[in-house]
Symmetry: D4
């Protein structure tokens, strides 16, 4: 699938420390596509290109991005570092690595000091990161927000319908 919505300005930036995180993180991109939210995806490594990472975070809102989604594993510093230099909401996705099943990633992302929030989702929860970005845009006051709120409610109704169908399948 595409890692950006090429013709239109991206509203969400999906970043990760390495393209090896993409198998986890692409669920965020797919979700944004489902809701028609434009995005860009990129490798922005806190530990391998710190200055560019700071620049990415500092400039994100001036480039028109409205939400950042950052995935990272182990000593996962990317979401928190971005959050420290942007006024945008930053959503952190703990990526599970070879050891500790993502617990290190989770704690490294969620236990931020007062002043610098990261909206953390579950280990490997990139789909929920995408949905949280949609909800964030949907909390606005513009027509896109209203449209997204409607889509979210349709989405939630679909989830319920799927759950009902699963129940039916189980009972039959």
């Amino acid at each position: 699938m595409s890692v950006s919505s090429e013709d239109r300005e991206p509203q969400v930036g999906i970043v990760m420390g390495s393209n090896s995180d993409w198998p986890v993180m692409k669920a965020a991109a797919e979700t944004l596509n489902e809701f028609g939210v434009t995005f860009e995806a990129d490798v922005v490594s806190a530990h391998r290109m710190a200055a560019e990472m700071i620049d990415y975070g500092t400039q994100a809102h001036t480039r028109g991005l409205r939400v950042l989604i950052a995935g990272a594993g182990g000593a996962a510093h990317l979401p928190g570092m971005l959050a420290s230099v942007t006024p945008l909401p930053v959503i952190g996705v703990p990526v599970p690595l070879a050891h500790f099943d993502g617990l290190d990633s989770l704690l490294s992302i969620v236990q931020m000091p007062a002043g610098v929030p990261v909206a953390t989702v579950s280990v490997g929860g990139a789909r929920n990161a995408g949905l949280l970005a949609v909800r964030t845009l949907a909390s606005g006051t513009d027509t896109q927000a209203a449209a997204l709120r409607d889509k979210l409610q349709t989405f939630q109704a679909d989830l319920a319908a799927q759950a009902h169908a699963k129940g039916e399948a189980l009972r039959s």
Copy 2:
């Protein structure tokens, strides 16, 4: 301090399972006050008033609320249950109780299934929950959003200034 911004419509709902969570959660309210964001605070217990809790979540966006902040401890179900019935972004604050130092609260809030995101902050991180709500509103396209973005950047500059002052104090 006040638990609501009485004259104006609340934009953020701060809810918790018991008023015993208020000593933790009031930091969210104080933060919203600092940024001039209106809010309401209430006890909405997932386990003691489930139907009203569902109603609160279902109606939140129709009442004009734009972000929910929910604090809960132990088997902390309030943030996730609200997230399941509202299209709004829900911010979850793991409240530490007598045992496990908030680890149970954290996992109960952050490990949500795909489809129902909760934006989780650190254990006891109500101040960051407030800031995340501000960032969410600041990600919008209206004039309040632009004003909040400015305030957030001033806030971040103040954090930097305080850190510099602390360094000076340490060095002198």
Copy 3:
């Protein structure tokens, strides 16, 4: 195997958030079948159909159900939410998901606040959930209870006999 005992009124409700939990949860159904206890099994998702979940819990005892068994994983809210709206005993089964080996599920189920008990069994312990439901019915004062107590004692004698046979097999 069948997911209900069709001709007779179910005494136990086995519910889970998704039919993907059935491979774990069917052990509860099999156990009830072994003891001749009637049951129904269904998908009742706390996070995808919250209102119906509340209804299911609220009405369970009026429909003649006497015990609920609820399986859930991750931020596992189903057992506790059902317990909050029913006077019936609710047995919670922590289902292990892709990460944390069920520790998140366990803590999300067992660490309920005072007032709303969930009878928690081991991670993946659906067979024990079935047995606990049988013991609950067997603690009654009616003839079914007496018969189940006898069956449970036979069952326990069988477990001992199997253990003896295993010892014999080991020694020979």
Copy 4:
């Protein structure tokens, strides 16, 4: 408070390894008192009087007890050992000791092998153990059960009322 309901036959046995567990476990007794359920409380140590413990478990149902509540800490063997010799439902209360905050107690109680269930409640959750015993008796078919179901629903309504009052207190 009294540790038994002297004039009438006890329906619930509350046991613990030492009277030092009583400050935690008495909440179970108080709860049973609230609901008018008779009980006995005793020290039955798995590790200091194993044979008597086995006898206690083996004979419990023949003495008219219908539910056992067992509290234990650390390598907490009492609930599981009782469950292995009685057909009654056994409710386990993990008692927190000087180290590990009850995690060892919880795992030692809840992770029972298939065949021998223990209905585990939260660390220190003796009040919920009492309520679970009440729910168990309330799941029966006799008039006491019906009366207890009514009381449980009143109890749940009271919890809701208290939560409402707390909300009011918070808002005012």
Copy 5:
């Protein structure tokens, strides 16, 4: 391999809750064989044959056994229960089961209350359990003890030689 040393009186009893533990526990038997220490191996389940388990423990020293090795997993009660009824040293082997990688087994075995010690070895550490039994017998004052001490020192010299050989292999 054989699970006992048939012609001679066993000095060590190796017990486990199920023959499914044998693949882990047989390393203890193999070790005793290496050192010429007689043993018996049997299934003695704390949860499936509690009374026999108590009998096994109570009579072990009268039958001439001098050390017990007990393997168990999950809510692992066998080592501690045996320790409570025998004056013999009991060595506990935490067996890893499907979840939690043996942490529940370890805590259930090692965290015994004051008065009832269990000599706990590592998760799955049956070989070390066998060696600890040998060391225990070797700490005596008789000729077998002296012989075992010699063998243990030869064994330790062999370990050193193997480590040297591994170093050589690595360097060449």
Copy 6:
């Protein structure tokens, strides 16, 4: 209390990394005193006097010691290092330090590689370490062993009597 049994040859060596461990470790000494087992207590630091520590372990059995008890906290290397150079049984006591409540101490002591066993007791379990040393000596074939077995059975009967008395106190 005395840290040795001066007039007679010590049978048990109690060692620890610092005299700051003595408040925990003295329970081992008290227990040996209760049973009339001679001992010596000393500071033998793995990390501050490694060569002497190796010497202590290497010579322990030649000096007539029959069991070693070693207490250590944090990265607790003393029990395992002693076990690597002595043929005697080594009992390890995890001492809890300022952080992690002894979990680091426990894992550093119990998770020994195959070949080098440490008989680990609970966090802070020095009394059980003393009792395990007594059981070890009691497993011998000499008259002291027989006498200690008798004392251990009296001790166990006393534990039962105390438990009965606690039950009586609770019931009255």
Copy 7:
């Protein structure tokens, strides 16, 4: 005590996110003073002054610093971020905060991705951080290094002497 060695060029930079970390971190400074190693101490916050933090790390070696010591708590990003922009060895000190006893700090510091090492010491282990900085300088080829190696060996001999004295105190 002084937070720098004013007259001479600092060789070690001790940095932390806030002066509230100083009570933990000053042990590093004291240790460097003991060994006559010059240092500077400053507040350099990853989350409150990210750009300056990057500058600090980038320029450290050009300013003559040879080792960095960085203390941080919770989602502790400072040591890893500095390590990503400096060629100097960076020593990370996990500072324990209000929850999780430093486990989050430890994992956030130690679990760095391949390519960017942080030399992590124990939770709160600032003294060892100082000693590690001394050892690092002592591993050099210049006269200071040789002098520091001598001092380190004297220091180790003193530790041994203290341990011996503690043993004497215990035995007397």
Copy 8:
């Protein structure tokens, strides 16, 4: 690959408890090769050849080694024991074994007492151990140090270039 740099004096000693650790530890050797730093690799087991291990540590600096890298798993005592007898910086690599995913190894290595530092890297982080050794040598005052600092900066620039290339690959 070679386990030593045969013609020249080794500057770094890479040691491990068994050659079974080599698949993890060889990444340290490869890294040193990349930077042209000489090394030796050997099996030095704390638990199987304690006296030689002490000798290895005691003599390391007299043999010209300047940094030690020690890998160990489970109750991982090698790094700390070496650190206690050498003035050299010791880098510890927690090797993950069959259980606990390296958490036991990590805590056994990192939680060293004040006075004896070990520079701990991530679980399985042998490559970072190698890089930390390089940074240590690079912190010196000689020409090799200056050359290594240059190489490290080239290395860091390469990491950044690779991250950029990965971003490009992701975007295209």
